[in-house]
């Protein structure tokens, strides 16, 4: 009896963490799924059960689909720049750039990741600004006046302008993670490749790519789930406009919950986000459980 009590006393160590997680992370998730079957507003006394109505609303809502598309565009573009481009960049830095300079370039590329999305979002809304912005001014300077736009104000360019800002902010972050992974590859592999006569391009594909695969998979997954959680940059730069063309799931949820006061529908959107990100995280878990490459 006493022994059991003593054993349970060890719960003192994990109790604060467990309580915080259960109350502020797990309970809200479960509650959110439940609420998505109700129709209610922040100030209504009693939510009414409506079954799958909120999900039917989503299926028939063009802005919902537009948001999903925008999240997908975000994911695909980020894969190209933050995985493909960053991996090549990391390999080039490690292969060709002298130690000192390499550190400097790495630091420079990483800096945007240290500032808040709000700051970079507002900064880029100034850069895209037709009156004071650098972008139009640069285009005019090289004779491309016809390319100038009110970048965030036009339906065709708003979403891409936001996505572009995000690449500026994040490619250095993933490049640094790739650098860390490449540094973990034993030098002998590169030397062996060199002895066999492989040039830098060849050793990139035969040594670097396969041996940093684990990091690549993780970054791919982080990038995709990040793209489906995008919120801050859109809120700051366009708030989803013009005419909802740059709406993403997160901002559409926010708008329905706190502007349109349709909490039930917002909860349904949140559940969709949960399912998507949870599925991606489950893949991550399955992948990281797989045996690591041995050397």
């Amino acid at each position: 009896m006493n022994r059991t009590l003593n054993r349970w006393r060890t719960w003192v160590w994990v109790l604060p963490a467990v309580i915080l997680l259960v109350v502020f992370v797990y309970y809200p998730i479960v509650e959110n799924i439940r609420l998505s079957f109700f129709s209610w507003s922040a100030f209504s006394a009693r939510p009414t059960f409506v079954g799958l109505d909120n999900y039917r609303t989503a299926a028939a809502d063009p802005v919902f689909w537009r948001s999903l598309l925008n999240n997908t565009l975000f994911a695909v573009t980020s894969l190209v720049f933050q995985v493909g481009f960053s991996l090549v960049l990391a390999a080039v830095l490690e292969e060709f750039v002298h130690q000192r300079l390499r550190g400097l370039l790495r630091t420079i590329y990483f800096i945007p990741a240290a500032i808040s999305i709000t700051v970079s979002g507002i900064l880029f809304s100034f850069i895209y600004n037709p009156q004071i912005g650098l972008l139009n001014s640069a285009l005019s300077a090289v004779g491309l006046d016809s390319w100038t736009h009110a970048w965030l104000g036009e339906q065709g360019t708003a979403m891409w302008s936001i996505i572009g800002m995000s690449q500026w902010q994040s490619f250095g972050y993933t490049a640094v993670l790739f650098v860390v992974a490449i540094q973990r590859v034993p030098r002998e592999f590169y030397e062996a490749a060199k002895v066999d006569g492989a040039g830098p391009v060849r050793s990139f594909f035969t040594v670097t790519v396969p041996l940093v695969r684990e990091m690549t998979t993780l970054i791919i997954i982080l990038t995709i789930s990040g793209a489906f959680l995008v919120f801050n940059e859109v809120m700051v730069m366009t708030a989803g406009g013009p005419s909802n063309t740059s709406q993403v799931l997160g901002t559409w949820l926010y708008r329905n919950a706190f502007m349109n006061d349709d909490m039930g529908y917002a909860a349904a959107i949140a559940t969709v986000i949960f399912v998507i990100t949870f599925a991606i995280a489950a893949v991550q878990l399955a992948v990281s459980r797989r045996r690591r490459i041995q050397w």
Partner: protein, 301 residues
């Protein structure tokens, strides 16, 4: 005639062995001659593309409105520090203070609670320790956005809506999983002999934790604290939804408010952005090594 004379086996073998190598040499050769300068050009252009917007921000924060319009690429004519004073009065100082309070409090709670839990999980046989670990792992997968609507009601019922506590508690709860795993991975590499020696000297688990384990974990605690600082300083969703009092807002949300208030007072806006961006850039430059270790350990678990 030549075709009828079958090649001897040896050259065939040689050819299959050598061909890919020589092709690689050719590509490598082209790469070295033509692509090297292009590569350097690319690296430099990229560095400028990253740095220039930030320099533009800093330069513009010293300009006046006409310079911002008419001389966007140039340096400011004089250093107008009063732009910063104005930005400070327009709210930046308030938001800054709020951010410092919320960030430092959540660093303290997150690292302590996480290190506390990590030690228990690593060194003690806790009943249902496995499920606790799974609970933490699951917490890694949950995105803040998804919990937003129920939390809105929950925080109101708890009476902490629109207080610093709302943000401090949420920033702690949502970061405990990541931070615990980060610290746990480090503790797993510590030798249990130290604990045992201290036990023999009559030290309690709590004493061991505070006096021996925490000091030994210093490097990873610094990394954890820096990553928490980066997270809390920049967090947006919770700060937007759970703080409605304008005086309580943190920098990311406050700056957005300020932008809609100041509209075309560009230099003051730029000054506000500069003031918000600088602390994290400086912190990153100082603690770069710890930042990167935390990132690579945290992500490579």
């Amino acid at each position: 005639m030549v075709m009828t004379s079958a090649p001897t086996p040896a050259p065939v073998q040689r050819a299959t062995l050598v061909r890919p190598v020589s092709r690689a040499h050719r590509i490598g050769g082209i790469f070295r001659v033509a692509a090297r300068p292009l590569m350097w050009l690319g690296l430099v252009v990229l560095a400028i593309a990253v740095i220039y917007p930030l320099l533009w921000m800093v330069f513009s924060s010293f300009k006046d409105n006409s310079e911002v319009f008419n001389n966007p690429w140039g340096m400011p004519g004089e250093l107008r520090w009063h732009n910063f004073a104005q930005a400070g009065q327009a709210g930046v100082v308030r938001y800054f203070t709020n951010s410092v309070i919320v960030t430092s409090a959540s660093i303290l709670t997150t690292t302590l609670i996480s290190a506390w839990a990590a030690y228990g999980l690593v060194r003690l046989r806790i009943p249902f320790g496995g499920p606790v670990l799974l609970l933490l792992l699951g917490g890694l997968m949950v995105a803040p956005t998804v919990a937003l609507i129920p939390l809105f009601g929950l925080l109101q019922r708890l009476g902490i809506f629109d207080t610093y506590w709302a943000l401090i508690i949420l920033y702690t709860a949502f970061r405990i999983p990541f931070t615990t795993f980060l610290i746990r991975a480090y503790m797993l590499d510590l030798s249990p002999d130290v604990d045992e020696a201290a036990r023999l000297d009559g030290a309690s688990r709590t004493q061991i934790f505070w006096r021996i384990i925490l000091p030994m974990c210093r490097p990873i605690l610094v990394s954890a604290a820096l990553l928490q600082a980066l997270f809390a300083w920049n967090e947006f969703v919770f700060a937007l939804v759970f703080i409605s009092n304008g005086d309580m807002k943190t920098l990311p949300v406050g700056l957005m408010d300020m932008q809609s208030r100041l509209l075309t007072d560009w230099p003051v806006q730029f000054a506000g952005l500069t003031m918000a961006a600088l602390p994290m850039i400086v912190l990153f430059l100082i603690g770069q090594r710890q930042f990167l270790r935390g990132l690579s350990d945290g992500i490579g678990k």
